[in-house]
């Protein structure tokens, strides 16, 4: 969707047009949901946070000034909800994530499941901001500048978070050792 079409939809959504907002949801849900899936490691929780974030975006759309992209704005709201839900559900989530990991692991080849679990564990050990920066930038879905905007962090901090986080994930899969050999 080009910027002009998006601006028109935003304008209509601000006036209460739910159909226009639905189109905005369709346009941005893949990147927002993928980001949250990487962040939470659980598709159901990720979608729950994503839906809350979109619903909140509808309420605060008048605050969107166009200085950043709408996708960045929605992800900023999503990060806020993720932090909030994390604080309240840490233990429950850890238990359910472990179960979800096991359930998913049954459906895919062993080697890939093992890699995914190793990555998930490494990801879970990262500090909150570093994990979020990595989830945003790893698949090149978001630029470092966009991630800095979403997380309200300096650009340099985001870059170092991504570089260090990537190194931790690669170490968890022993990738660097393989490359060196």
């Amino acid at each position: 969707m080009d910027a002009a079409a998006e601006a028109r939809l935003i304008e209509r959504a601000r006036k209460g047009d739910l159909r226009a907002f639905g189109e905005l949801v369709d346009a941005h849900q893949p990147s927002v949901r993928a980001f949250l899936r990487r962040l939470t490691g659980n598709a159901a929780d990720a979608d729950d946070v994503a839906q809350e974030a979109f619903a909140r975006t509808w309420e605060v759309l008048h605050r969107f000034d166009g200085a950043s992209t709408l996708r960045t704005f929605i992800c900023g709201v999503a990060v806020m909800y993720w932090r909030r839900s994390r604080r309240s559900n840490t233990r429950r989530q850890a238990r359910e994530d472990a179960y979800a990991d096991l359930a998913d692991a049954d459906a895919e080849p062993y080697a890939r499941a093992a890699q995914r679990l190793a990555l998930r564990r490494a990801m879970d050990q990262l500090p909150e901001d570093q994990r979020a920066a990595l989830a945003l930038c790893l698949g090149q879905d978001f630029t470092h500048a966009e991630a800095a905007e979403v997380l309200k962090l300096p650009l340099g901090t985001v870059k170092s978070h991504v570089a260090r986080g990537r190194a931790r994930l690669r170490a968890a899969l022993d990738l660097d050792a393989e490359n060196d050999a």
Partner: protein
């Protein structure tokens, strides 16, 4: 293994378009709007009854009797009826009929 592969291992992008997700979002929007409206109504109701509850002890403390306040009550009643009438007029006859049918 590149960054894209790492990202896919951590969580794939969902298949799109996903109308179910959009419907879930829109139903959440509607639910939250209903919740906000209900909370607003509750605050208004509590405020109105609190004001009425506070009015009589205050009037009594200021030495006003019911007989003294009778003109005030009359004025308040007229203003109240006029407000309700104006609201019904602003909504129009269809609005009033719709409200009756919804009950």
């Amino acid at each position: 293994m590149n960054d894209r592969d790492l990202a896919d291992l951590l969580g794939d992008a969902p298949p799109t378009p996903d109308p179910r997700f959009r419907l879930d979002v829109l139903s959440r929007v509607a639910r939250r709007a209903r919740q906000f409206a209900a909370a607003e109504r509750a605050v208004r109701t509590i405020g109105a009854f609190t004001a009425i509850g506070v009015f009589f002890p205050l009037a009594q403390a200021l030495g006003l009797t019911l007989a003294d306040m009778q003109p005030l009550f009359m004025a308040a009643a007229i203003v109240g009826v006029a407000y309700l009438f104006a609201k019904a007029m602003a909504r129009g006859p269809r609005g009033v009929l719709l409200a009756l049918r919804m009950r």
